[in-house]
């Protein structure tokens, strides 16, 4: 039913081990990351220090310089043209090198929409800057009144000559405070029979008069997301992507790309590996947590599911490589991927014991005095990450919405 269960492609027999060429590629990626990821960024990643805007941009420019920023883009737009094994190796090596995750809004989201549906002028204007991380993008989908029911969005874009007049509020906009541009789903027609009609995909310069960014502080105390207010913002008509009224279709494609990316299998794998190492260590001569079979059985159970997800992702990539766009099956990756991220977060909290409890975020800066630090390493961050990542089963379409999608589009219910 899913992922090639009914059609049986023929070819070489199945193999799990890498070829010599793939191993060579792995070494190339490994040495590039080892030699080029700036040490301060690597340290921040290891020590739990939040990256600032400049860190992300520096890192992504580094990848762009090597031609490795847009892994999944078509080669003609600056993509890598890598096969499945190479993408898998790259994701694994990135995680193992303590390299930051790529901020997805430009490279992973609006980029594919622009090269798929945008005009030639839009491609020329926007794609190079996305590829080079010269422009920071953010996402304007959800609204205060439109969460799971995204099609009920109310932000309006009224045509007034050669520009749209945009009014409304977008919310949960991650890194909106850093962004130069925002891609939005807006309502260009209200006179429609289906609510999914009349929605358009619009690119808006965040420096336009009438755009206001209001921070939202999330559960762990950080400023990560924002509410974005549009008050009579003038947006040139040439910033409309594709046809007016087709935004829902474009937006769905984008969400499928987003969901494929949210599985984060390589990173969760790496976190689990680090947890095992942490658990094997004796703290001040005490029995290591790794001797606790109940805990280790939980770790093992998550590991099994994660290995399964790794192969579900590879099967999806294989389907995409054979010419299919990521379909509703990507919902399974999102569902399972976020569940497992959260399961690993819980294991970290469990492993930290009492030291999951001190609320001392200020100590996660480079060169914080060690004798004043509370807990081993980043122990006191475990609960903050756990709290923050409850978002994972909510964003990108809540996991219940994913189940609705699979039920309707995969199972035909």
């Amino acid at each position: 039913m899913v992922l090639g269960r009914t059609s049986r492609p023929t070819g070489q027999a199945m193999h799990v081990t890498f070829t010599a060429a793939e191993l060579e590629f792995r070494d190339e990626v490994r040495s590039f990351l080892r030699d080029n990821v700036p040490e301060d960024i690597r340290r921040k990643q290891r020590e739990g220090v939040a990256l600032d805007r400049d860190d992300y941009v520096r890192f992504q420019k580094l990848l762009a310089g090597r031609g490795w920023a847009a892994v999944n883009w078509p080669v003609e737009y600056g993509g890598t043209g890598w096969n499945i094994a190479q993408k898998y190796i790259y994701a694994t090596e990135m995680a193992e090198a303590d390299a930051p995750a790529i901020v997805p809004f430009g490279l992973g989201m609006v980029g594919p929409v622009i090269y798929t549906y945008g005009s030639q002028a839009q491609k020329q204007r926007f794609l190079p800057d996305i590829l080079e991380s010269n422009v920071w993008w953010c996402q304007g989908y959800s609204e205060p009144g439109a969460g799971s029911d995204l099609a009920s969005l109310k932000t309006r874009a009224d045509l007034a000559g050669d520009y749209y007049l945009v009014n409304g509020t977008k919310t949960w906009t991650t890194f909106g405070q850093h962004a130069d541009w925002i891609f939005c789903l807006v309502r260009t027609t209200t006179d429609v029979s289906r609510r999914q009609e009349g929605i358009s995909f619009l690119l808006i310069d965040m420096s336009s008069p009438g755009v206001r960014v209001q921070p939202i502080i999330t559960i762990e105390g950080n400023h990560e997301v924002n509410e974005i207010h549009f008050d009579n913002v003038e947006v040139p008509v040439e910033n409309l992507v594709g046809e007016a009224g087709k935004g829902w279709t474009y937006g769905k494609v984008l969400l499928q790309h987003e969901r494929t990316g949210t599985a984060q299998v390589a990173r969760t794998n790496y976190r689990l590996k680090r947890l095992r190492l942490h658990a094997a260590r004796s703290i001040r001569g005490a029995t290591p947590l790794a001797e606790d079979r109940i805990f280790m059985r939980k770790v093992a159970a998550v590991q099994v599911e994660l290995k399964a997800l790794e192969y579900t992702e590879l099967r999806t990539l294989a389907a995409v490589a054979s010419g299919k766009a990521p379909g509703p099956e990507s919902s399974i990756l999102k569902l399972k991927g976020t569940e497992l991220q959260q399961a690993v977060d819980e294991l970290y909290v469990e492993a930290a014991g009492y030291y999951a409890l001190p609320y001392v975020p200020e100590q996660y800066v480079l060169d914080f005095p060690e004798d004043y630090r509370v807990g081993e390493g980043a122990e006191t961050l475990t609960s903050l990450r756990y709290f923050n990542y409850r978002k994972a089963s909510i964003y990108g379409g809540s996991n219940e919405i994913q189940k609705n999608i699979v039920a309707k589009h995969v199972l035909g219910l």
Binding site: R8, A300, A308, L314, L335, V406, V410
Partner: protein
Amino acid sequence: MDFSLSEEQAMLADSIEKFIENDYDFEARQKYAASEIGYSTEAWRTFAELGWTAIPFGEDDGGFCGGPIETMVMMQLFGRALVVEPYLANIVMVGGVLRRLASDAQKSRWLRPIISGELQAALAFTEPQARYDLANIETSAVADGDGWILQGEKGFVLNGGDAGLVIVPARASGGSTDTDGITLFGVTGSADGVSRRPYPTVDGHRAAEIVLRDVKVGSDAILGEAGGGYAILEAVIDEAILAVCAEAVGIMQILTDKTVEYTKTRVQFGVPIASFQALQHRMVDMLTACEQSYSLLLWASMANADGADDAKRAIHAIKYQVGTAGQKVGQEAVQLHGAMGVTWDLDIAHYFKRLTAIGQLFGNADWHLDRLAD
């Protein structure tokens, strides 16, 4: 990293699919399971004629050099059809031992007739006290002149009821759970001192309790090295685990498909019950469990075919996955079929029972998870 089947593998799958479509519907399966020997001798002859019984063996033995991938392809389809013919016992288990250990003479005596479908065979891999520990063997082997005398009890011998050949692991030395000192003997089913209590199992298969009292065997009965049988037993049971896990995944997939179809046609409160979100989400969970299990099965089969470093962990992982996900999918399929799901006449019940049995075979989910926690 390639998930496509070779041409030969695809052809093998096609031939099994055709056989099932033409000759092996649920009604036929139920008839075979209820027959005196518990399977169809005619179907078994067909298996041999089509070459399926020869798949894992070398060319010298008239085989096709198949490995874990071929077994996976076959067993998944056997699962979908709930095949009761003793492929696991004869070909995967006994065949797995003979393929590795049998001398030329032993091959002509045992392996050839198994491949040709004339000889039924069983591997007596466990004993009543052993639970899932393969090394827990109290059956003894005492040297007696040129040969050996075997004493002991074997439990749950799959296909053991009328097997002409029973492979008996017995202990010539060491404590009752030592891995050293275990020797594999080929024993004729009708030998003096062998008594059998055959019985059907809950999933429509057949097994037997076998008691060995002063069973005399010659030195030509020893398979491989005396005392060195454990490693082979373990390797063969690992292959059997991969095989039953593939079968389980086939069952999980068809149970999910059938449940989805059923809920689309079953009308209550004036609408198909498939329109209820509470049921939709549960079917999505079933689908997810199938997809995850199939993914892990691919990995485990490929890792073992390639002899990858984590091949052994893959065995534990897939058996744990199939144990937990199979139980969930089986229970949900029954639940969503309502009372029909607990009737003997409906195939759903029998798929569920087979999944339950597979969950218990060769170590349950907890047992394998515990190995992974080390």
